[in-house]
């Protein structure tokens, strides 16, 4: 008789009662990986998929071939990146606060992941389209999406471009390259592929970018997107934000035996790279490379952004129930804002004082808009949206039965 087989159940390195432990995470030195040619093939991308592209070293110096690749970027671009991230933090801070005060029902931060969306977005062109998850408000911030629209949606008041239809954080903006967020995980990854196919078919020179969390890579749409992208090779960038957690579930439950998410993508014949997502320069460099590649017609590419979800999953979540309270501080890749700041100071382009001042300025700017937007109504003090909006846009033209229902409702 065979002895009983044991199933495996992946575990995080530490639970609340434990000390944070990231000893199993390998962080290769900055500058170790080269810049591949734009027509990189999946077979040739093994080292990129299993390694980790890093530009900023521990001292804050930009080193290696990827640093050279973006050496032409002027200081203003980097300062803008820093401002984007600081603005994002200010927005997250103010809106978390608003939720705590009961002014909105729900909020969700992206703390620790600011470099990824901010850096990527600044490399896109107008007309390119992101298919984001709910944790990529960075894409809006770095696209200079009006804060009034963003916050209007958080308060579901008359400033809300979606007129209260969607959860606060599920934004949508065609003009700012931000596809309507669904809320069902994964679904939009394959839509990004379809959009990019349409880009190619219509010859508009634009590209699409799909976004997915590490947990959501388990979804069927992750597979269908990688497969379809690999078959038709449209200009799409398939971003995977690996922030180690999916609500309470450790990333290992989604990785399974795969070495990395990038490696899984490579199995589909899509070249894949793994990048330090807390390194604004690495993000910028790889985004630039990938976007350039896609636009040149070399087909899809997958990028695993390696990062850490510092905050709770959302305001409905309390991570102290499933991971050590101080785990974020132990994260070996540091904080994206601190690292870029350090780099800019090292270059002589920035200082602690200017940083503190910029933080304060941005917080003021954000707070001012917030105050203004709040005068249009908040959750505790609502200025009701017309219930008739419920029936608006279900179809292009309202069919009879919806007319009857709207009438029954009294509108």
């Amino acid at each position: 008789m065979t002895e009983k087989l044991k199933l495996t159940f992946p575990h995080p390195p530490a639970r609340p009662q434990d000390k944070p432990d990231f000893s199993s995470i390998v962080t290769p030195p900055a500058g170790a990986l080269g810049v591949p040619p734009p027509d990189l093939r999946a077979e040739e991308s093994q080292d990129y998929a299993n390694g980790l592209i890093r530009v900023l070293d521990n001292a804050g110096e930009a080193v290696g071939p990827w640093a050279d690749y973006v050496a032409g970027m002027d200081r203003n671009a980097l300062l803008l990146g820093l401002r984007d991230m600081l603005k994002m933090r200010a927005v997250d801070k103010r809106l978390l606060n608003a939720q705590r005060q009961g002014k909105t029902s729900f909020y969700l931060q992206c703390t620790g992941e600011e470099a990824i969306g901010c850096g990527f977005q600044r490399q896109l062109e107008k007309g390119d389209m992101n298919f984001p998850t709910y944790r990529q408000q960075t894409l809006l911030i770095a696209a200079d999406y009006p804060l009034k629209d963003l916050m209007g949606q958080i308060y579901s008041n008359e400033c809300d471009p979606l007129e209260g239809r969607q959860l606060p954080i599920m934004h949508s903006s065609r003009d700012y390259g931000f596809f309507s967020i669904s809320g069902n995980l994964g679904t939009q990854y394959i839509q990004a592929v379809g959009w990019a196919m349409a880009n190619a078919l219509s010859g508009d020179g634009k590209i699409a970018a799909g976004w997915i969390g590490d947990g959501a890579t388990a979804s069927n749409d992750f597979h269908s997107a990688l497969l379809s992208a690999s078959v038709y090779r449209p200009p799409v960038i398939l971003n995977i934000v690996n922030n180690q957690w999916a609500i309470s579930t450790y990333t290992g439950v989604a990785t399974g035996g795969s070495r990395t998410y990038a490696a899984r993508a490579r199995g589909y014949g899509i070249p894949a790279l793994r990048v330090d997502g807390n390194d604004y320069l690495a993000v910028t460099a790889v985004s630039k490379w990938a976007i350039d590649r896609a636009r040149k017609g070399f087909g899809p590419v997958a990028i695993e952004w390696f990062t850490y979800r510092v905050a709770a999953h959302s305001t409905s979540d309390d991570p102290s129930a499933y991971r050590p309270k101080d785990e974020a501080r132990a994260w070996p890749l540091g904080d994206p804002v601190e690292r870029l700041k350090q780099h800019l100071i090292l270059r002589g382009d920035w200082s602690e004082e200017r940083h503190t001042q910029a933080e304060a300025e941005l917080l003021d700017e954000v707070t001012a808009v917030q105050k203004e937007v709040e005068t249009h109504g908040t959750f505790v003090n609502p200025k009701p949206i017309s219930p008739a909006t419920i029936f608006k846009g279900v179809y292009a033209e309202m069919p009879e039965h919806l007319h009857r229902q709207r009438q029954e409702m009294g509108y």
């Binding site: 309507s180 839509q191 219509s202 269908s224 379809s228």
Partner: protein, 337 residues
């Protein structure tokens, strides 16, 4: 005017639209080079090239998911599910994505796409080639749901569907692909070439989505049917002689309640027929609407003739299929009271 089978009419509709509008795309499993397992798209790839008409991997949610992205970007995809029985992997993309995109984005993004699928039984296809899942789509706000019963309507409705600004679920009663079917599976089948409804105009025309068709005027009972069941109704009425008004709904969502109401107010009696399983089928919705709209005119309970609440069987499919005899019994019952 030429006579066409329903397959030819559907193909002609796609041909017209592919020719009209460079944004129209046709794709699905085996749809490209081969032209589909029912040959509905035969010849279209050769005519329009594989950028317009192409084969996909066997992944229904990928097909619809790609189509959603394309439609949002401005294309007009018309995709095929090889059988309606295989639409379920795409159910999430259809009901949570395509159906709601316009609404949830406050019309910033829209989703004009058509999902065609061969539907219904009567071809000894067993439980995975016979299903009629229309009720699973009529429950979903944001979708339109149609099912033609003639080559003429098939072409006109498909052109209308491709031109519609919203997602349309397009059911094709496969038992009618090559000719009408009056319920006698052992009898000689007559092709569309022998049937007046096989007459299909050339070029562009549409049949409005949301309008029913009175297939037979009558004064004693109203039958509500769609797809294959329209002919079953005709056969039953022919046999039993009850003076029945037969309404071919054509469009289930939106529903042409006016036409239905006018008929039932006149006849006072109503039988509805579908091939799908009875419980929570679209017939339930029809009955709910009719009893509310026509309560004071009803002389007897509305009768439901539907597939049994069991998987579609293979060998005993003609015992499952709601044939003319069951319709006659329902007509008689509704007249008794």
């Amino acid at each position: 005017m030429t006579r066409m089978t329903m397959i030819e009419a559907l193909r002609d509709a796609m041909d017209v639209k592919l020719n009209d509008d460079p944004k129209v795309l046709v794709f699905g499993e085996d749809v490209g080079y081969f032209g589909g397992v029912f040959r509905c798209t035969a010849g279209l790839q050769a005519k329009y090239g594989e950028e317009r008409v192409f084969d996909t991997p066997i992944n229904e949610s990928a097909i619809v998911g790609m189509a959603v992205g394309m439609a949002a970007q401005g294309m007009r995809p018309c995709v095929e599910m090889q059988f309606a029985d295989y639409v379920y992997p795409a159910y999430d993309q259809i009901t949570q994505e395509a159906a709601r995109l316009r609404h949830r984005s406050n019309e910033m993004f829209t989703c004009p796409l058509v999902i065609r699928m061969p539907t219904g039984g009567g071809i000894f296809g067993g439980q995975t080639h016979s299903q009629s899942p229309e009720a699973l789509f009529t429950h979903v706000a944001g979708l339109k749901v149609v099912m033609p019963s003639t080559p003429y309507d098939a072409k006109g409705l498909l052109i209308a569907a491709i031109e519609d600004p919203d997602p349309v679920i397009f059911f094709e009663p496969k038992r009618l692909y090559n000719g009408p079917f009056y319920g006698d599976h052992s009898g000689k089948s007559v092709g569309w070439a022998q049937h007046p409804a096989g007459e299909v105009p050339e070029g562009h025309y549409t049949v409005e989505i949301g309008k029913a068709d009175i297939r037979r005027a009558g004064s004693d009972v109203t039958i509500l049917a769609y797809g294959t069941m329209v002919y079953i109704a005709e056969a039953a009425v022919e046999k039993c002689g009850i003076d029945t008004e037969i309404i071919d709904l054509r469009s289930l969502l939106p529903l042409d309640l006016e036409t239905i109401k006018a008929s039932v107010e006149k006849t006072g009696r109503c039988v509805m027929i579908h091939e799908a399983t009875r419980t929570s089928g679209f017939g339930a919705e029809l009955i709910a609407e009719v009893q509310e709209a026509c309560f004071w005119h009803l002389k007897s309970p509305i009768q439901r003739v539907a597939g049994w609440d069991a998987p579609y069987p293979h060998a005993t499919e003609w015992d499952y299929f709601p044939g003319p005899e069951r319709v006659i019994r329902a007509l008689q019952k509704t007249m008794e009271d």
